[in-house]
Symmetry: C2
Subunit: 355 residues, 2 copies
């Protein structure tokens, strides 16, 4: 019997629609007869907000919750538009969904493909995954300000960290590490300064490590991690870290590998209570929107993460291998967004037929 998956599709703003179109093209090329994907389009993002004044209504959230997974392109409008100031779309839509759907694992793999130019002179073999906590830390929106606009203004930001929240993401990271060949886990924090949260993370990692004698563990401060990621990125396997540190180091990870145009992510609710959400790490890039120049690869690789999440590692790896083949065959002639999607879809179809 065929598995039927209800997929909510948020094409979003800027280059979002273009890259999602290609991601769906590849998804359809890889789907076997026993997996049926039913898509529902959701019009969400800056464009819809500017038209209607709504960012994400309770009805939107409820409708999204009816789905098994969400594929999101990119959201956010022109950063200079005062009506969109202060990250209102990012917080009201992206972060709101991550919190509403308890996406406590933000999964961000990094591979340096030999065929893609890295800004590093000698990146070596790089293949690591950042498991970024997605529902706590400085992202909770806890903080405030008094005497705003006066010389006596005080603004606070509070990072909230719970044993519950830390333990579940740490467990996920250990499970992942123990399934990978190198079985190594690095905790990244700043425990010499953020002592309370740092101690909670360190104690939790130490406790869960006892259940995973197969996994080797180390700890690095977030500042030092930036050095290693530039000087010796091959040393990392699984990194588990806080929401904010994960945000920062995954952009760096994108930069040292093929660039943010290749970085995919999954916002995952491992319990399956809520739909998980898959999205490229890049933003909506309004300056190049609608020109068919955006690289859809990060969106395509997000589909691979989606397939993996649906339990179809076989299909996920068909997609990543097609991407690798496409990257290896890229010439110097620029291709349109659709041409890249076509090429990857064709490579997927060829593999699937001959397999």
């Amino acid at each position: 019997m065929a598995q039927t998956v209800k997929l909510a599709v948020v094409r979003g703003d800027g280059i979002g629609p273009e890259v999602v179109d290609e991601a769906l093209k590849v998804l359809h090329a890889v789907l076997p007869d026993d997996l049926v994907v039913q898509e529902t389009a959701f019009s969400l993002g800056a464009t819809r907000y500017l038209e209607t004044g709504d960012i994400l209504s309770d009805a939107d959230t409820a409708a999204l919750a009816e789905h098994d997974a969400i594929l999101l392109g990119a959201v956010g409008g022109d950063p200079r538009d005062p009506r969109l100031a202060g990250g209102i779309i990012e917080r009201g839509l992206l972060l709101k969904l991550r919190f509403a759907f308890d996406h406590y694992v933000n999964l961000r793999p990094t591979t340096v493909y030999s065929s893609v130019a890295s800004p590093l002179a000698d990146p070596g073999t790089v293949d690591f995954v950042v498991v970024r906590e997605g529902t706590e830390g400085p992202y909770v929106g806890n903080g405030g300000a008094i005497r705003v606009g006066t010389p006596h203004e005080i603004a606070t930001e509070v990072s909230l960290n719970t044993a519950h929240g830390v333990e579940r993401v740490v467990r996920y990271a250990f499970d992942l590490a123990s399934r990978r060949p190198r079985k190594h886990l690095t905790l990244v924090h700043k425990s010499n300064v953020l002592v309370h949260a740092g101690a909670l993370w360190q104690r939790t990692v130490a406790a869960v490590a006892e259940e995973h004698p197969d996994v080797t563990v180390d700890y690095q401060h977030v500042d030092a991690v930036t050095i290693h990621m530039v000087r010796e990125p091959g040393r990392f396997d699984v990194i588990v870290t806080d929401n904010l540190f994960g945000d920062i180091i995954t952009d760096l990870a994108g930069a040292i590998s093929g660039g943010i145009g290749l970085a995919a992510s999954g916002n995952i609710n491992p319990d399956g209570t809520f739909p998980s959400m898959f999205e490229p790490v890049h933003g909506s890039a309004p300056d190049i929107a609608g020109q068919q120049v955006a690289d859809p690869t990060a969106a395509v690789l997000s589909v691979a993460l989606l397939l993996d999440h649906l339990g179809r590692a076989d299909l996920a790896s068909a997609v990543t291998q097609a991407v690798e083949a496409d990257l290896a065959s890229r010439g110097t002639t620029p291709r349109s967004t659709a041409e890249v999607g076509d090429a990857i879809a064709a490579a997927v179809a060829a593999r699937t037929t001959t397999a």
Copy 2:
């Protein structure tokens, strides 16, 4: 009449003593007759703490306060020593001094020297300064935990940001930018998530910018900055940022340039109420201590920052030029810590004599 400067010298732990010896060697080589430096040695750091149980007493602080400036090598012992766990020396000594002496400017310049191999394939011309706030943000030690060690543990970390604290460091950064050829300032924050602190920083930068029509200004999120620092570091001139973001991006800046062995820093109290403190960004590296293999260049460049702070830009540039000459003449034969110091001191002396 000669200017007399009282310099407190904290050689510290690990490679600290070795690199400070070379830094002082270079300092003495560059000193003209009209500048007299009186040194007082302070025995502070992990070694002294393990011997006496004292990290930094009120008497130590009071004695340090009697000086015009502090030169510090590195502090911190073996990270695996349980008696030194949790960053007790870093917080009890380094951070305590930064707060006690109101070092609200943490100045960290980055240069990519053409003669030094960068891990970047094509770094280009890189010459920027990070002005990191040093007395606020998530570094204030405000936070706590309840139900520690239970499944109900909650740990918080609070970032405190004040108009007073932000404005003074932003003013310093604008003054610095307007004295540099490119006159460009980049504010780095994460204002789309940390909205209260982010808004305070953004409003302050916008306000001070009005007084500096000569300085161009932009804003970047801390995650995006890591990408630009790897892909196009030459775009930066002066970066002003929060204490934690500054910690992270200056390690990255060190990594993309000649490495952390070249990164110098000044913890500056621009008001002159308290002594400013100059230190290499690197740590005490206990694993290579006492072997004369540490590169003293970061400590030497910290002396250049000290001289600049003392109003002797001429001497500062004599030191940096001697460092550049030394870097350019480095062969493949490893030199001892003292040999590097000797070479830079000789280059300084040669310049000073012929000038």
